[in-house]
Amino acid sequence: MSFQATSFTRSKQRSELAARAVFLMMTLLMVVPLLMIVGYLFYQAWPILSLDFLLSNPRNGMRAGGIWSPLLGTIYLVVISLVIATPIGVLAAVFLNEYARENWFTRVINLAVVNLAGVPSIVHALFGLGAFVLFAGLGKSILAASLTLAIMTLPVIIASTKEALAAVPMPFREACWNVGATRWQTIRHVVLPNSIGGILTGVILQVSRAAGETAPIMFTGAVFYKAIKEGDLFAYGLRDQCMALSMHLFTISTQVPGVPKALPYGAAVVLLGSVLAVNALAIVVRFRLRSRRKW
């Protein structure tokens, strides 16, 4: 018995090597543009980045100054939309995954959730315009825009929460029921503590989606230009219209002539940076909760 390579094993080794090389190349192909985008944005935005850029309103017809007003507007929209969507989405997902029996009604709901998650954001925008701005009489306002964003993020939060709940093995639930625990006791003491990492990750990832979308807020609450009191975190009211980073970026890149080049890049860096920071937070949360994983 010897371990000499036959021609068959040699050809296997060659294809193994080729496969590895191809997969590695694809991975690099994916990483390189990402690094180039980030690098290029920072390079272009470098001269303008400062604390003052963050904390001062756009000035001089948006050709100078900072991004305070759109930055605060985006924060308002994201926070309010998630405050609305998270409890509804998480509780609905708990119902669908833990209480609902499989029947035509829950099947229709599940189908609706999946399909709503795939609806283009511009359609949500039109719905928000009709339902919140006009029908509910909220007018173009932060509240109407946040509600529209909430409707947009809701199905994704439901889907990701359901997935996190379903990852908790069924025998754990059955063991709890067998010893006389109610459904809610089982959820509260065993299911939720073991799925909270996945649930939070799903919610946090929606932050970046809500922050980045332009279409849903364009008709429902975002404005071209609005100056607010600098340094005041409560400068916007719920019924006010606001500026938003994503839309501001679009405006100063395409709608206003004579904007210094660094300005849109600065806005882009802040938008990208905050999204990356939030995603990094999601990774940290997931990692910490997974390291405590108990089975």
């Binding site: 029996r101 709890c176 006389g180 108990k294």
Partner: protein, 253 residues
Amino acid sequence: MSAEHMIEIDNLRVRYGRRDVLKGVTLNVRRNEVLGVIGPAQSGKTTLLRVINRTIDDVPDAVVRGCIKVDGQDVRQVKDVPALRRKIGMVSPLPVGLPLSIFDNVAFAPRMAGVRDRHELEARVERCLRQAALWDEVKDRLSSLGTRLSGGQQQRLTIARALSHDPEVLCLDEFSIAIDPVTTMRIEDVLKELRSRITIVLVTNLVQQARRLADRTAFFFNGDLVELDRTEAIFSETPADPRTFQYVRGIFG
């Protein structure tokens, strides 16, 4: 209410959708006896246990007909299902350590039933772990995770948890299927200790296990109760039904 019978089952029929799983089973379990339940796979043994503690409610399209009484009460009329389940300890085939500490695994059921007192919980956890022959192995690490124990230890943890709510009936469903023979024998010793105080329904895929432990043995086949008799009679040369003889001798099944 019958003083003699802990569980009375009268003409129990269960269907899952269109499939008949139990086809009219009538049997009684006497107080403080060990009833062995044997029979090949798909004969309805597990379904019988699920009916007793109402976990059948969670099986979609299960239809239950007939009368099942536990301690004189019709289980299908029970309003407080958790209270019914606390009367019955259930041990499933595969060991399930909850993702909690060993202590919390055993304290879970009492806590859910409203016991808050730390001393009472500690006393109960120790008693149940001792009864399940696990105390000596885990007493120094009660705060470590139940899911990190070995399979055999987790099955004893499961038994300790099943005893933690002071059940009057202990149902075991093929408890030895995933554990080694030595642990199996230890758990059998545990059951011999318990038999004087508690009613035990022992569903088992090992016919010799029923022979070793059961006072009476029921042979299920294909949804029917073929025969229920004293264990010696079932394992004798002349049980009432020839299929019983063939099954316990390993000729079919």
